[in-house]
Symmetry: C2
């Protein structure tokens, strides 16, 4: 890639920066590393700018506040899954079963969370993220949880549908998918983890092995079409 | 409040302190509130002492460092469940099924996490808790996870036992139980949540509704005997 980079503010000169990564992405990357390692309160925009190798003033050209950076990082951990939910839901119920749709959403979500820089899903439980200024992230995650609830309720066995309302199914499923955040704290997640977690979501809905296997095969075809 | 503020170093008389609560417990309570609200880095022993209404020197009489307080708080979130695991495992397999034992452990663990002061389970994901100085907490939680793995593997349907090794079952189950930490961030958990989570653990192991119902009834009898 020898094409010119977009000029933002002034040209930056730093040894650390990868010429193929935009300044904005470098800031997000540095912030992710610092937030996860030190927490939100202990991370300043000065530390972020230093890690990128730019001046604080240059950072402010891209982000007004530290919270704005965090909000964008949080969004990257949930948005791709939400977009996939919308695309998958358009296929239900005519062309795929609710079970396959649920499997596909869960697998997509596991992969999204497997790839967030520095496993920033670990920030979900921080007290700061409960604050109002992250309303937009919490609304996104709430919407994802709702989709898990409605897909799970539609897929559930009669017994589970009778004992668990959709909201509760949603709470359980989103958290089960987020197991991958915990896994990443000790090891690299594998394809087998994606399969184990997505299958567990279906089992939690009371589906038995033949149904789980059929839904997984159906979901794979669906995902390859949407890819 | 017209009472005098506590004199430091001397016998304490404070309107805030409950005479039935030991100084040690008051320190733990204050620290829990501060850690959860502000994070670990932003909480100092001075802030904790101030909240209790004692001098920092008096705090040091009970705890040498902030980390020691946090370690004890973390222990209270996992130890009661570990103790129950030991008592329950002694009943398996002669007197209760593995499914009932798993239900009983999960229900006990949900209740423990429902009662931690200030929902201190939210601290589990903090980067600081990954540090070596909290090895003992992580060893405890690892042991609990292992018990989930072995009980889950023993209870699992043939299909699930074939596709998930015990370690993976343990990872999934402990995280599923910890859904209650997330629930507590938005509402008070109810008895129905305990039942929903413990039943979901059995379903995740591939057990169908009649088996789940039977295990739940068996677990209730077991828990009332162990109470």
């Amino acid at each position: 890639m020898t094409t010119t980079r977009p000029r933002q503010g002034r040209p930056r000169h730093t040894a650390q920066s990868d010429p193929h990564t935009s300044a904005r992405d470098q800031i997000l990357d540095a912030a992710g590393a610092l937030f996860v390692a030190h927490g939100i309160a202990a991370t300043s925009t000065r530390m972020i700018a230093e890690r990128v190798g730019i001046r604080q003033a240059s950072l402010y050209y891209h982000f007004t506040t530290k919270d704005e950076i965090l909000a964008e990082l949080l969004a990257t951990s949930v948005r791709p899954s939400l977009e996939m939910v919308e695309r998958i839901q358009a296929w239900v119920p005519e062309r795929v079963s609710a079970a396959a749709a649920l499997y596909a959403v869960a697998a997509t979500d596991v992969r999204t969370l497997s790839r967030t820089p520095y496993n920033i899903g670990t920030l979900y439980l921080l007290p700061e993220v409960l604050a109002e200024r992250f309303d937009s992230f919490r609304a996104d995650r709430g919407q994802l949880q709702e989709s898990y609830g409605s897909l799970g309720a539609a897929a559930a066995s009669e017994g589970v549908a009778r004992s668990l309302p959709p909201e509760r199914i949603g709470e359980l499923l989103i958290q089960l998918v987020e197991v991958v955040i915990q896994i990443r704290r000790s090891r690299e997640p594998e394809a087998a983890d994606t399969e184990a977690i997505a299958s567990s979501c279906l089992r939690l809905c009371g589906l038995d092995e033949p149904v789980v296997t059929a839904a997984r095969d159906e979901a794979r075809i669906l995902l390859s079409r949407l890819a």
